[in-house]
Amino acid sequence: MSWLRPASDALWRHPRLLLALLLVPPVAWLGVVYLGSLFALLAQSFFSIDEFSGLIVHEFTLKTYRELLNPANLDIILRTVTMAAVVTVAAAVIAFPIAYYAARYARGPWKAVFYLGVMLPLWSSYLVKVYSWKLILAKEGILSWLFETLHLTWLLDAYLAIPVLGGNSLSVSWTGTFLVFLYVWLPFMVLPVQASLERVPLSVIEASGDLGAAPGQTFRHVILPLALPGVIAGSIFTFSLTLGDYIIPQIIGTSRLFIGQAVYSHQGTAGNIPLAAAFAVVPIVIMGLYLWAAKRKGAFDAL
């Protein structure tokens, strides 16, 4: 078309214009839809609800935050943060060897197998995965059948008898919630860790050995610090996804609430939007503190 050529000529002469044209839509989207709703949420948390009428009082108050900090709600926050932390640590521990193998040793088709293996679970619906885990963990499920076949039912029963971790069956225990969280978020840890390990040159690892460091020392002083930005990036995913999730603990686990479920019920049936907003602020604050601490510890120095 005749008008396309002058248009591309004009863009070629003004690269900044091209950059602006490319950036305006996503920035507008992020600014309005994402940041806008975030601030709306933040604003909501400083309103309160009238206990008699159930209507929102549009006046600045810290009343909602006072309510957020009552023992029952604090319990929810603590439970969620603990779960998120445990899931994150476990994901890092499991992901590191997988990522290390993929970055250091996997070549050609094995690399493809690795990516496929890590990504494949992400291709099926999240709900399908959670419900299939319910089948695996249920009282009459695959795991209990496996334990029975191996004549190890006593072991499973002994585990389920442990107060906090156990329960009636794995699917209604905290262990079950933990396992499903771990499974669902693991790829989000493996991929960034693998990417960061990929960038560690072999010669640097050899240099460490050359200077007298045994493999364990090389791992602690060279590989881990250089992979730390990847671990932090992965932990941001696993930690924040666990903090915000409201479906997994509803399907698998005890009836005790997590932050996501609290937000869901307060903004839905209870109609307490300010408290829901205040709950939603909690993960944001926690993530902010986490990133600040990570930066202070020098986790991003190797970037």
Partner: protein
């Protein structure tokens, strides 16, 4: 004299690929030893065998009389200056240099003092607080050198350490490395593909080709008295005369080498045709065609160059024609 490093029949095969094939080396203590060869000739693999990053598939390696088979790199008193320097990007310069001492369990004050002294030795005092990414290529190279020297190695391995530097810096570093080696008396094993570098720095040069050492000797020997055509061509860019031509000239049927600067135009001698001539400042490089060989001559300033295609005669002093022992 003790040998610092000794290879007896050492091979490193990767499947059918013979990276290093039945190599014998004897490097004396305090020697500056260069391993010279084109890329893929096995010189770097030999260096990695000494460092312990590779294990030989056959043969024996001894470092100061101690067998080195099965000894991991971190148990060898050998340190390496890597081709890409391999500085730790997350540590600043002083902690990079002090890394080995930290691993050895030395206190912070002590190791920083020693690292600072090592930095002074490589003319980088006061650079300790910088990150490797803030340094130039030449400075990184010095840090890598300091990091290895601070360990007081018995043998220092250098893997093309000057390869990434520009010409001026490289020449300056050649002088410095040589002076440093003389001063410290440490055995240096130096891998390079640059024959000028090997000849100017080393006490002895081992020339590698296709996984084997084809000649070992003092730089003058390797340069003036090549034993095989490969050395003549690779080290000195000498003319290699085929056996038939040598037989006509000397009566002995062998390969021979002839330095380009030894060849001159004469009224009588070997008949040849001038194919091309190119001006190189101090001299002119002329390529002649004889009946069975191409001969390159470096003709000094003042010699009148005949037009291309003219028939001339080439001559040289009999002593400049060097008969080789090897067949290939």
């Amino acid at each position: 004299m003790t040998s610092a490093v000794r290879f007896s029949g050492v091979s490193r095969h990767y499947g059918a690929v013979r990276a290093v094939d039945a190599v014998d080396i004897d490097i004396a203590e305090g020697e500056f030893f260069a391993m010279l060869g084109p890329s893929g000739s096995g010189k770097t693999t030999c260096l990695r065998l000494i460092a312990g990053f590779e294990q030989p598939t056959a043969g024996r390696i001894e470092i100061f009389g101690q067998p080195a088979q099965g000894l991991p790199p971190y148990r060898r008193q050998v340190n390496t200056v890597f081709q890409d320097y391999a500085l730790f990007p997350h540590l600043n310069v002083i902690d990079n240099v002090a890394y080995g001492l930290m691993i050895a369990g030395r206190g912070k004050a002590e190791r920083h003092r020693e690292a600072e002294a090592a930095l002074e030795m490589v003319a980088l005092p006061g650079y300790g607080g910088r990150k490797p990414s803030q340094l130039s290529g030449g400075q990184r190279q010095r840090v890598a050198l300091a990091r290895a020297l601070v360990m007081r190695p018995k043998v220092l391995l250098l893997d093309e350490p000057l390869g990434a530097l520009d010409l001026k810096l490289r020449e300056a570093m050649q002088e410095e490395l040589k002076a440093l080696q003389r001063r410290l008396g440490i055995t240096f094993v130096f891998v390079t593909h640059d024959q000028g570098e090997a000849l100017s720095m080393a006490d002895r040069v081992a020339v590698f080709n296709q996984g084997q050492i084809v000649q070992v000797g003092a730089p003058q020997d390797v340069y003036y008295r090549p034993q095989v055509p490969f050395v003549a061509d690779f080290v000195g860019s000498s003319n290699v005369l085929p056996p038939a031509l040598t037989e006509r000239l000397t009566g002995t049927r062998r390969f021979a080498s002839l330095r380009p600067e030894a060849v001159r135009l004469a009224a009588d001698g070997l008949p040849a045709v001038l194919r091309s001539a190119s001006f190189h400042g101090a001299n002119t490089r002329a390529v002649f065609e004889t009946e069975d060989a191409q001969i390159v001559a470096l003709l000094p300033k003042g010699v009148e160059i005949p037009p291309e295609g003219s028939a001339v005669h080439l001559a040289w002093d009999a002593a400049d024609l060097h008969l080789m022992t090897g067949a290939s």
